[in-house]
C-alpha cells in the first residue's frame, strides 16, 4: 500500500469516527458505562498497586534515613536533608554529566547512521526488505545478555574487536583497552549502544521518508531542483518530526540506561562511566541507603517525567500529520 493512500485511509477512518451515528441503547446486559469501568478498572488497579502506591512510599521514604538492611533501626525523619545532600554532592552531578554525555553522543551517532541507512534503504534496491530485517535484529535482543558478550569482544588480545581494529589500522591489538582505559571506556559503551539501537532510529526515519508524498518530488523535478536541494528542502524537513520522535524516545531510554553499562564497565574504570542508574543502584542496593536513594529516585522521576511530557506532546504532533 502506498503511503499517501495509507494516510488518506486513516484520515477517512478518523472522519468516520468523528461523526458516529447514535448508538441504539441496550437495556439488556451491562450498561456501556458499567462495561467501560469494568474493562478499565483492573488495569488501573494494577497500576495503582504496582506503580502509584510504591511511588508515594518512595516520596515518604525520601524524607527519612531509612535503611532497608536495618529493619530494627529507628527511622528518623530528616526533612529535606537527603535532597540537600544529593544536590550538593559533586559525585551526583558528575554522574548526571556522564549520563548527559552518553545520551548526547550515542543519539548523535544513532541519528546520523540511522538516517543514512534509512535513506539508502529507501532507494529500494533488490532485496531491501530482507536486509532491513537483518539490520533490525540487534535491537530486539536483550541488552544485558548481548552486552555481556561484548565484554568478551572488547578483551585486548583475545577479543575480536581489538583484532579487527588492528587489522585495519595496524595498531597492536594489545596496546589499547576499550573497557579499561579512562579515555576509551565511555566510547566502548557508546559503540555498543549505537550498534544495538541504530536500527531503531533507522526504522522510524524510514517511516518518515516513506511518508513524504511523491508529488512533492515530482513538483521539484519540474522546477529542476538539484537532488542536493531536494534533499535539504524536502526530505530532511519532511522527515524531521520522525527524527525528533526517534531522538526523544532514545533520549528517555538512554537516560535510564543501566543493563549495558552495568555489564560492560560497571561504572569503571574508577567512576568514569558511572551513569545515574549505576549510582542509584549502588546507593540503594549495595550500600542500602534507602532514604537518600529514594530522594535520588524522585529527582530522576521528575527529570524523566519532564522528558515524557515533552515526548507525548511531540508524539501527538507526529500523529496529527
Amino acid at each position: 500500500m502506498n503511503n499517501d493512500t495509507g494516510m488518506i485511509d486513516r484520515a477517512a477512518t478518523m472522519a468516520a469516527k468523528a461523526t458516529p451515528p447514535r448508538l441504539v441503547r441496550r437495556v439488556r446486559g451491562l450498561s456501556d458505562k458499567a462495561i467501560a469501568w469494568l474493562f478499565i478498572a483492573p488495569t488501573m488497579l494494577l497500576l495503582l498497586v504496582i506503580n502509584i502506591f510504591p511511588l508515594i512510599w518512595t516520596i515518604q521514604l525520601s524524607f527519612t534515613n531509612y535503611r532497608a538492611n536495618r529493619p530494627n533501626a529507628e527511622v528518623v525523619n530528616v526533612g529535606l536533608r537527603n535532597y540537600e545532600r544529593l544536590l550538593t554532592d559533586p559525585d551526583v552531578w558528575i554522574a548526571m554529566q556522564t549520563t548527559a554525555q552518553f545520551v548526547f553522543w550515542s543519539i548523535l551517532l544513532q541519528t546520523v547512521i540511522g538516517f543514512t541507512l534509512a535513506y539508502l534503504i529507501d532507494r529500494k534496491f533488490r532485496g531491501h526488505a530482507f536486509w532491513t530485517t537483518v539490520i533490525l535484529i540487534p535491537m530486539m535482543l536483550s541488552p544485558a545478555v548481548v552486552g555481556n558478550f561484548w565484554r568478551f569482544l572488547y578483551q585486548p588480545q583475545i577479543g575480536l574487536f581489538n583484532y579487527i581494529v588492528s587489522f585495519f589500522t595496524g595498531i597492536e591489538p594489545s596496546s589499547f583497552e576499550m573497557l579499561g582505559s579512562v579515555s576509551l571506556a565511555p566510547w566502548s559503551i557508546v559503540i555498543v549502544d549505537t550498534w544495538m539501537w541504530t536500527p531503531y532510529v533507522m526504522l522510524i526515519c524510514l517511516a518518515g521518508l516513506r511518508s513524504i508524498p511523491d508529488y512533492i518530488y515530482e513538483a521539484a523535478e519540474v522546477d529542476r531542483a538539484s537532488p542536493w536541494r531536494q534533499f535539504w528542502s524536502i526530505t530532511v524537513p519532511m522527515a524531521l518530526p520522525f527524527i525528533m520522535l526517534a531522538v526523544l524516545f532514545r533520549g528517555i531510554e538512554n537516560f535510564k540506561m543501566f543493563d549495558m553499562v552495568n555489564l560492560l564497565t560497571g561504572g569503571g574504570p574508577g567512576s568514569i562511566t558511572e551513569v545515574a542508574s549505576i549510582t542509584l543502584k549502588r546507593q540503594a542496593f549495595e550500600a542500602w541507603r534507602t532514604g537518600p536513594s529514594s530522594a535520588f529516585a524522585i529527582i530522576l522521576f521528575v527529570a524523566v517525567f519532564g522528558l515524557a511530557n515533552i515526548y507525548v506532546k511531540a508524539l501527538n504532533r507526529v500523529k496529527q500529520r
Binding site: 534515613n65 532497608a68 538492611n69 536495618r70 529493619p71 530494627n72 578483551q155 585486548p156 588480545q157 594489545s174 596496546s175 583497552e177 573497557l179 579499561g180 582505559s181 579512562v182 564497565t265 560497571g266 561504572g267 569503571g268 574504570p269 574508577g270 567512576s271 568514569i272 549502588r282 542496593f285 549495595e286 550500600a287 542500602w288 541507603r289
Partner: protein
C-alpha cells in the same frame, strides 16, 4: 498470526498455572548458598556423603564472587527463602547478627558437643564471632583463606633466566620476601620472551564492582603499616588510614599495576588472574589460597607452579579471606540445616574436606604432623593464617567497602589524584558513614 495467537494464549495460560503451583514445600531438601569457585564444587562432591547418610537432597546456589555479596545480601534483606545454609563472608557477620539473619549457634554447639576450641583460634575469631572477640557464635568456620601468591617455578628455576636476573639486579631469583623484591621481579619479567611468548610480571586484583581492588591493595598496604584505627574500636582513622606507611603501600600497589600487569587487567579479580596465570602470561599471580589445590591439580601448569605467602615490608601481613557456614534464620528446614552443620563439624569429614580441596581449619587437620607436607601450599597456609588482617566487619561494611573501592580504583586505575588524597577522601567518606551510624 491467528494460529500463533492461539498458541501464545494456550502456552501463557499453562505457564501461569505452572507458576502458581511452583511454590510447593520442600520437605527434605536443603539449599546451600556460596560463591561459585573451585572449593564450592569440591563441597558438592563432599556433600554426597551427607546425602547418602541422611537422605536429604542438597541443592546448591553458587554465585560468582563479583556478584556474591550483592545478590546474597539482597536475598537476606528481602527475607527470601532461597538459602537454608549460607557460607558467607566474614565481613557480613556484624550486619547479619544484628539483624537476626543468622541463627545464633551457641546453644546448638553446647547440645551437640561441638567445641570451638577444636578449631584454629584465629579462624573462629574471624569467621564466627560477633561482636569480635566474644564467645557469641554465628557460624562454624568452614573455609580458612588468605590472599597469597602463585609463581612459575619453572621460570624461576630456569638457569638462563636466573643468570640474567643475577646480572641485571645482583640478587638471586627466588620468591620475594618484601614488596620491593616482588616489584623488582615483576619488572624483570615484564615484556620478557619466555618459550617464545611475551610474558608479564604479575596479575593483581583491580576489580571495581565488588571488593577486588580493596582486597588487592590492602595486601600491599597492611605490610607497610596500614591500619583502620589508631585505637581499636575508637574509629579514629586519621593517622592510621592515611599514615605514611599506608600511602607508601598504596603507591607501591599502583606502581606494580602500572609497570607489571598484562594488558587489559584493569578490572580483574580472581578469575581473570587465574586465566592469565594458566595461559602462561604472567610470572606471578596474587590470588586466594582457595585456588591453590585446584592449581596444583591443573593438567597444564600444576606441576610447575609454586606458592608463597604475601610478602612483608615493615611487618608481615596477609589479607583475610575465608568464610564460616551459617544457618539462615528464615529457613523452613531448621533441623536439616543444623544436621548439616553437625555433619560438617565432624573431624573425619573435615579431613575429607581438606583432601578434596577445601581449607578445613579443624585442629584435627591442622595439627596433624603430616599436614605441612600434605600439600605444597599447606605450610604457607599456616603461616598466612597467623598474620591475617581483615576489613571492617561493621554492619555498614557494604558502604565502607564501596567507598574504598571507589577511592582506590579512582587512584590506581583511573589515575585521579594522589595516594594521600585518595586516603584522605576515604577517611572523609568513612566518617560520614560512621556519623550516620551514630558511632562518631
Amino acid at each position: 498470526m491467528q494460529c500463533l495467537n492461539k498458541i501464545a494464549l494456550g502456552v501463557s495460560a499453562a505457564a501461569l498455572m505452572a507458576a502458581a503451583s511452583m511454590t510447593s514445600a520442600k520437605a527434605n531438601e536443603l539449599t546451600l548458598c556460596w560463591a561459585a569457585w573451585d572449593p564450592a564444587n569440591a563441597l558438592v562432591e563432599l556433600s554426597k556423603d551427607f546425602e547418602t547418610k541422611t537422605g536429604t537432597k542438597m541443592n546448591f546456589e553458587f554465585v560468582p564472587w563479583p556478584n556474591f555479596a550483592d545478590r546474597i545480601l539482597n536475598e537476606l534483606n528481602a527475607g527470601g527463602k532461597l538459602c537454608d545454609l549460607l557460607i558467607g563472608d566474614s565481613q557480613w557477620l556484624g550486619g547479619s547478627a544484628e539483624n537476626g539473619y543468622y541463627v545464633k549457634l551457641n546453644d546448638f554447639f553446647d547440645k551437640e558437643g561441638i567445641s570451638m576450641d577444636d578449631f584454629a583460634a584465629a579462624a573462629v575469631n574471624a569467621y564466627s564471632t560477633w561482636p569480635k572477640g566474644t564467645p557469641n557464635y554465628w557460624a562454624l568456620p568452614a573455609m580458612g583463606d588468605a590472599n597469597g601468591w602463585f609463581y612459575r617455578k619453572d621460570w624461576f628455576e630456569d638457569p638462563a633466566i636466573m643468570a640474567d636476573y643475577k646480572t641485571k639486579t645482583g640478587a638471586d631469583l627466588a620468591p620475594p620476601k618484601t614488596w620491593d623484591e616482588l616489584k623488582q621481579i615483576a619488572e624483570f619479567f615484564q615484556g620478557r620472551e619466555v618459550n617464545g611468548q611475551t610474558v608479564y610480571g604479575a596479575a593483581i586484583f583491580t576489580e571495581r564492582a565488588s571488593e577486588g581492588i580493596t582486597m588487592g591493595a590492602t595486601s600491599a598496604m597492611y605490610p607497610y603499616g596500614f591500619k583502620y584505627e589508631m585505637t581499636p574500636g575508637a574509629y579514629d582513622m586519621e593517622g592510621a588510614v592515611n599514615s605514611e606507611g599506608a600511602v607508601a603501600g598504596l603507591e607501591m600497589y599502583k606502581a606494580l599495576y602500572k609497570c607489571c600487569t598484562p594488558p587489559g587487567y584493569t578490572d580483574s579479580y580472581m578469575g581473570e588472574g587465574l586465566d592469565a596465570f594458566k595461559s602462561g602470561q604472567v610470572a606471578m599471580m596474587m590470588n586466594w589460597f582457595a585456588f591453590m589445590p585446584g592449581m596444583a591439580k591443573d593438567e597444564k601448569v600444576g606441576s610447575v607452579t609454586g606458592f608463597f605467602v604475601n610478602p612483608g615490608q615493615t611487618i608481615a601481613a596477609s589479607t583475610l579471606g575465608g568464610q564460616g557456614i551459617s544457618v539462615v534464620a528464615n529457613t523452613d528446614n531448621m533441623d536439616g540445616a543444623l544436621a548439616y552443620i553437625k555433619w560438617f563439624a565432624d573431624p573425619e569429614i573435615q579431613k575429607k574436606w581438606w583432601a578434596l580441596g577445601g581449607y578445613a581449619v579443624h585442629n584435627a587437620v591442622l595439627n596433624d604432623p603430616a599436614f605441612p607436607s600434605s600439600q605444597p601450599f599447606a605450610g604457607d597456609f599456616l603461616v598466612a593464617m597467623n598474620q591475617v588482617q581483615d576489613f571492617w566487619q561493621e554492619p555498614s561494611y557494604a558502604s565502607l567497602l564501596q567507598a574504598m573501592q571507589k577511592r582506590l580504583h579512582d587512584y590506581v586505575v583511573a589515575d585521579q589524584g594522589t595516594a594521600k588524597e585518595a586516603l584522605d577522601n576515604l577517611i572523609a567518606d568513612w566518617t560520614v558513614i560512621f556519623e550516620d551510624d551514630g558511632k562518631l
